[in-house]
């Protein structure tokens, strides 16, 4: 059955108990009501027989993933599949599972758990759910290059050239706002944050970053947004104050009833940040590379994603093609590199490496949903490195107790040299930045 066009993804949300459709997002052409009904029905049928239907594939390469949250809401995602070379169904399923978790989190972020789990008035809930569409559409489109946090649940970070100054300013600004939670976001990535910000659950940090990115993209000067934290505070809203210091650089705090947006803006923003305008500009100049100039990468590194497993932070970059020797095969485009990086991350973490599970699920459910292949569980040891050579480029993964590095190199690099390239890149970055 071909339900959707190739490459398109549609999300359905229904009440879990009665199957009332609440909303659908994504894909220009909506699925007919009868198909939505059947998708819900087949899941319910399984439930009646003690079976949890979690995913299925269609002959045309499509994929459906079901998931019930808090016994109250059912999210179904239908993917047309067959995205140009988008990996096999395993990769697709991981991507879709993550998408459902993220969608649920952002529904809680905006509306709070109570409103989603104690449904009194369906019509009103439908209306309120519209408030989540902006974030949900952003997740579905997933168009922002260089942002991998939605997939890795590690915070996309930018390593500024002058970390100490910015750190002090963020700490001071948060304190003056009666808050322990503050962060500075540059180009959509965290450049500095208070210690408490890093102690939020990793998916929350990623989710807040996504919200701040979307607010920042509108070009507005400041915001006062009520937010619920899916794990830390699902029923009591906090206030997220955001100030656009310079276009592309935003400072945020999570706070209680005080200070008011007006007083924080007029009394504190200038005091803490005016002295740092040049530092902020330097930070903006780091750009999408995430890494300061002091880090010199080997010329044969095409793209990389480096995860700190302890702090759950990541840096990533794709380098625009340097002069390629004549006769070498063409390098994949920038957009394609980001795509390959994501696929290789899923490939490695499902087959070889541990994917640090940070999901808000019970241990039983975790076992059930484990994305790890059986044969990995059969290993008596933990693989430390892996590589993959495709027609487009060579990929190398490497993990240490502290880090995971995923690296792309051009086909011209001999395969036997990949390990050296990777280990040296890891030590180059960690040595220069202490990441």
């Amino acid at each position: 059955m071909m339900m959707l066009q190739h490459g398109s993804t549609q999300l359905l949300c229904l009440t879990a108990s009665s199957g009332v459709p609440l909303f659908t997002r994504g894909a220009s052409k909506q699925l007919p009501f009868s198909v939505i009904g059947s998708l819900n029905g087949v899941h319910m049928f399984g439930g009646g027989h003690g079976v949890v239907l979690s995913s299925c594939e269609t002959e045309g390469g499509g994929k459906v993933v079901w998931r019930v949250f808090q016994d109250s809401m059912m999210l179904i995602v239908v993917s047309g599949g067959g995205q140009d070379g988008a990996g096999d169904s395993k990769e697709d399923e991981v991507r879709l599972q993550r998408l459902l978790e993220n969608v649920w989190s952002c529904m809680v972020l905006v509306l709070g758990q109570d409103e989603l789990t104690n449904v009194r008035n369906v019509e009103r809930l439908k209306r309120d759910l519209r408030s989540c569409f902006s974030l949900i559409d952003q997740l579905l489109e997933d168009r922002q290059e260089g942002i991998l946090g939605n997939l890795t649940h590690c915070a996309d970070s930018l390593l500024p050239p002058n970390p100490t100054l910015l750190q002090e300013a963020v700490d001071g600004f948060a304190q003056a706002s009666d808050s322990e939670f503050g962060c500075l976001i540059v180009h959509g990535r965290i450049a500095a944050a208070t210690e408490k910000w890093w102690r939020l659950a990793p998916p929350e940090v990623v989710l807040l970053s996504a919200l701040i990115r979307s607010l920042s993209a509108s070009g507005s000067a400041s915001c006062d947004y009520p937010v619920f934290l899916p794990q830390g505070s699902p029923t009591v809203a906090h206030r997220l104050l955001r100030f656009q210091l310079l276009p592309g650089a935003d400072v945020c705090v999570l706070c209680g009833p005080t200070p008011s947006l007006h007083s924080a803006e007029s009394g504190m923003v200038g005091r803490f940040w005016t002295p740092l305008v040049e530092t902020l500009r330097d930070c903006l100049a780091v750009g999408e590379h995430s890494l300061p100039r002091s880090v010199s990468l080997r010329p044969d590194v095409l793209a990389l994603l480096l995860i700190n497993r302890e702090t759950r932070r990541s840096v990533s970059c794709v380098r625009t093609s340097t002069n390629r020797p004549l006769g070498d095969p063409p390098l994949p485009s920038k957009a394609r590199c980001w795509e390959i990086l994501k696929l290789f991350y899923i490939f490695s973490t499902t087959r070889y490496f541990n994917q640090e599970e940070t999901l808000c699920v019970s241990p039983e459910e975790r076992a059930q949903r484990a994305n790890t292949d059986d044969f990995v569980l059969g290993f008596s040891h933990q693989p430390l490195q892996c590589y993959l050579v495709t027609e487009e480029c060579k990929s190398y993964g490497l993990q240490t107790p502290q880090h995971q590095l995923f690296l792309l190199a051009p086909l011209s690099v001999p395969t036997f040299a990949l390990r050296t390239v990777a280990t040296q890149t890891l030590s180059d970055i960690v040595g220069a930045t202490g990441f």
């Binding site: 519209r130 070009g219 206030r239 009833p257």
Partner: protein
Amino acid sequence: MAHVSPSSGSIIVADWHRCKDSKEYFSKILHKKRRKNFGLLESPVMPPHVAVDTVHYKIFLSGKSGVGKTALAARLAGLNIPNMHYETTGIETTVVYWPVKLRENGRVLFFRLQLWDCGENALRRFDHLLPACKEQVDAVLFLFSFTDRTSFDDLSNQIAKWTGAPVVKLVVGTKFDLFMHCDVAERDVRNFQETWSVPVLRVGGEVSDGLGDVASLLNCLAEHLWASGLCISQTPFTAGDRDCTLILT
């Protein structure tokens, strides 16, 4: 009304953006022929020998969900207008810098208009948002959509809530270009304007050079704010607001 409405163009030079002598001022709010987006730490910078005062105002956008509050703020600031309607789920403020020349003495001022936009549903769900929007507000723009009759009918209610408040009130009709779907007759608008003696402005249609399509609205707003006599002159980020200089004109 707290003040006598000025007739259009009586206080500030209308269409000043078309005059030659305005060029050096308007060039400060433009970048590559588009409006410049200023962060909170930035402002238009004039050369040292041309001293220009900046006057700060807070403006609240009021109106039913979907009338186009966020789009109006984006349009006035020259930002990308969202191509799809999403609810604003909290307060978002947008800063607009606009140079203005006073007719009386030829003095030039930069108006810094901070537009406060908050989704209606968010206002309903969270009690603290409306007081935050009302705090020290200088003007309210009441929005209605020409394509939504109920939003027009609701105006009287909305304005009545602000009776007695010393704020400038203007009404803005949005989506004026969608005349095929127009739901509000010109006659109704005229009647309304007479009953409430509140100016009604119209916006809609293509965004052109980033100045012409917003100039009349911004000039009108600036004129009313200036005429209302209450002008807060402050340098950005001085602590405490209302203890700054009050200039009465």
